[in-house]
């Protein structure tokens, strides 16, 4: 494998999945790594996350800590969830359905956790 596409399709914070997926992506950066936010995974793109009071790691900080990780978000999923009218973190690149699928199949492997 020289490239991995990590598909995140569950909401951050409610489950350990997003945290686990970002950590797995972080250790994989010697390969080409894309994190694809899809379905409920796109909530991770919301700006202004502050998890101090909840007492868990800030997931958007992890994205900023690893610039090698390309992070894309599926526009139709964002639109459906009302996120286009919200502030989103700049690190996340918004792509349409076609481009999202293109990036998925271009990677050597796809991992959905």
């Amino acid at each position: 494998m020289r490239s991995v596409f990590y598909l995140l399709d569950v909401a951050p914070y409610g489950s350990e999945k997003a945290y686990g997926l970002l950590n797995a992506a972080a250790v994989s950066i010697k390969m080409n790594v894309i994190v694809g936010l899809y379905a409920d995974g796109v909530y991770l793109a919301l700006a202004g996350q502050d998890s101090r009071a909840l007492g868990v790691p800030n997931l958007s900080d992890i994205i900023y800590a690893y610039p090698e990780m390309k992070v894309i978000a599926h526009e139709p999923s964002l639109a459906k969830r009302g996120l286009f009218s919200q502030s989103l973190i700049e690190r996340v690149e918004l792509v349409d359905d076609e481009k999202f699928i293109e990036e998925t199949v271009a990677s050597d492997s796809v991992i959905a956790l």
């Binding site: 996350q49 459906k80 969830r81």
Partner: protein, 110 residues
């Protein structure tokens, strides 16, 4: 308790429906919860966990809700903004329990 039972056996419904929602809006559970709210005459919605993402839904405007109560730490973690019509609480769980354990209320959790 006895009083509550009599209310039921008289065929009267509890006066308030308390809904605790912890799932994101496009989950089957959240859809089912919102469907139950539609038919409730007096519904209070408590949002915690991924349930706070429901605040981003325009459909929420159309629901007849007596009150929306939101868990502050869960809201902040997710970067969601609460609108004017919501009550954001630090002591969310104390208030939830108070409301939920009231004899006049019926509790649903999704």
């Amino acid at each position: 308790m006895e009083h509550d039972r009599q209310l039921h056996s008289d065929g009267k419904e509890p006066k308030v429906d308390i809904f605790l929602l912890t799932k994101p809006p496009f989950s089957e559970r959240a859809r089912f919860c919102l469907r139950l709210i539609e038919q409730s005459e007096h519904a209070v919605l408590y949002l915690a966990g991924d349930g706070v993402y429901v605040l981003l839904e325009e459909a929420l405007e159309n629901l007849s809700l007596a009150r929306i109560v939101v868990c502050r730490e869960d809201l902040e973690a997710r970067g969601v903004q609460a609108g004017d019509k919501t009550v954001v609480l630090v002591d969310f769980y104390e208030r939830l329990v108070e409301d939920a354990m009231n004899k006049e209320s019926k509790l649903y959790a999704f």
